[in-house]
């Protein structure tokens, strides 16, 4: 692996601020970006990436290869939870394995954004390094399928309800644990992150260049600076969860670290088969290799409340996310450059 790629990545302002956040948490500083600032920043980032993707999509031509990429993206998001579930069942019970599988099948928008940022910072003149606007659509399409698959897994393999407490339970047996499908699908497809991302993408497509010019001083120009602030907070949050790792055990941590390059390699393989450029390939790798810590946890708390968020959020936030944005992104690009050469 070309070590200069890794160093380049570690020297981008965004990653340095992530490191600052980690440092602050480790020395137990009282530094904090209290809620709802991080939530606000994440709405901003999703809106910005969605709009920009939509505008780019409008500017470019859509051919069959784009449709294939989008289909492949959905496929990856639905397939990775399946094998993950069975691997995770070796260590976890059904609800926890299903929630974790859904988490790792879905994607992390901030990892995607960080990868875009990294590609940009390379200042490459090769157009193959500029990802297409449809990659944002691919991201949007990958958020939800894993949620649905995860809940189906949790349901299908659910152990029969324990009877021990049925006497004290005022609800009829069949009422407990039933899936509310309307609610689940709403949560999967209409959760805040998906709505903002897809909505902004569509708005980016709908508006004309004049409209884009009028808003891009807010949604485009300051984007990378805002990302720094957001990653500062992510560093704080991720590092503060490090102490929870002990309770998770080494096999889970191994899964969290190994599944990232594994899933990313799947993404790279698909990208290679589809013959897309290096930029698109990196983003597909990052989408496949990243794990959700916003949309999926929110959905799991509703649909699989038996699962322990102390496991699936901790893994995706404190292990997979830092791995991907520091080492993963340059590593995947190194693999791609070797293959594409």
């Amino acid at each position: 692996m070309d070590v200069s790629l890794l160093l380049d990545n570690l020297r981008t302002p965004a990653i340095l601020f992530f490191g600052l956040g980690v440092f602050a948490a480790v020395v137990r500083s009282d530094l904090a970006l209290p809620q709802p600032i991080p939530k606000f920043l994440s709405v901003y980032l999703l809106m910005a990436i969605g709009l920009h993707g939509g505008v780019e999509l409008m500017r470019s031509e859509i051919d069959t290869s784009v449709v294939l990429i989008l289909l492949a993206a959905v496929g990856l998001s639905a397939a990775t939870p399946l094998w993950s579930f069975f691997v995770l069942r070796l260590k976890l019970d059904v609800p926890n394995a299903a929630a974790m599988a859904a988490t790792y099948g879905s994607i992390s928008a901030v990892t995607f954004i960080t990868a875009t940022n990294f590609l940009d910072s390379l200042n490459s003149t090769d157009p193959a390094y500029t990802p297409g606007g449809y990659m944002v659509a691919a991201m949007a399409l990958m958020e939800s399928p894993a949620i649905v698959v995860g809940v189906l897994l949790a349901r299908y393999f659910a152990s029969p309800a324990k009877d021990s407490d049925s006497s004290s339970d005022p609800l009829p047996q069949e009422d407990r644990g039933k899936i509310d499908w309307g609610e689940l699908l709403r949560e999967a497809f209409f959760n805040g992150a998906v709505i903002v991302l897809v909505g902004s993408l569509l708005i980016g497509i709908a508006i004309d260049e004049k409209g884009w010019d009028s808003i891009q001083p807010f949604v485009y120009t300051p984007f990378k600076g805002v990302l720094c602030l957001f990653l500062l907070d992510m560093g704080l949050v991720a590092a503060r969860r490090l102490s929870d790792l002990r309770r998770c055990g080494p096999s889970l941590i191994a899964f969290a670290i190994l599944s990232a390059p594994l899933h990313a390699s799947l993404g790279i393989a698909v990208a290679w088969l589809l013959g897309v450029g290096q930029g698109d390939a990196l983003l597909l790798a990052v989408l496949a290799g990243s794990a959700s810590y916003i949309a999926v946890p929110a959905a799991m708390r509703l649909a699989v409340p038996e699962a322990n968020p102390g496991l699936y959020v901790t893994m995706s936030l404190a292990v997979t996310f830092p791995f991907n944005i520091t080492v993963g992104i340059p590593l995947y690009l190194a693999i791609i450059e070797a293959l594409w050469a």
Binding site: L33, Q35, P36, I37, P38, K39, S42, D165, D169, P170, L171, D175, R176, G177, D233, M234, L236, V237, R240, R241, Y293, I294, P297, A298, R301, L302, P305, N308, P309, G310, V313, L317
Partner: protein, 97 residues
């Protein structure tokens, strides 16, 4: 002054609507909701840390007639059993205005 019961429920914010609907369904229409609450219980620690609001709790406080407590509790218990949380009932005097 009138003696009433004070119910105090801690529940994940994402599940709060269920609790409020349960209260309403038995005729409890007065309640107060405190948002942005964190805590710790059987199911671990719930921080309000950045990123997602999925692990935020809220506290629902309701002053109601003693006769409404039992039906309300009957509705709320299964919600707490499924999603975790806490329900306390205590005595208070309601200052009628």
């Amino acid at each position: 002054m009138k003696p009433i019961k004070r119910m105090e429920i801690v529940i994940g914010t994402v599940h709060a609507d269920r609790v409020i609907e349960a209260l309403r369904s038995v005729g409890v229409t007065g309640y107060t909701v405190i948002n942005g609450v964190s805590g710790s219980g059987d199911r671990g620690t719930r921080r309000i840390d950045g990123v997602s609001g999925a692990f935020e709790n809220c506290m629902v406080i309701s002053a109601c007639d003693e006769s409404l407590v039992d039906p309300a509790v009957k509705k709320i218990k299964p919600i707490l059993k499924r999603f975790g949380g806490l329900c306390l009932v205590s005595d208070a005097q309601w200052i009628m205005h």
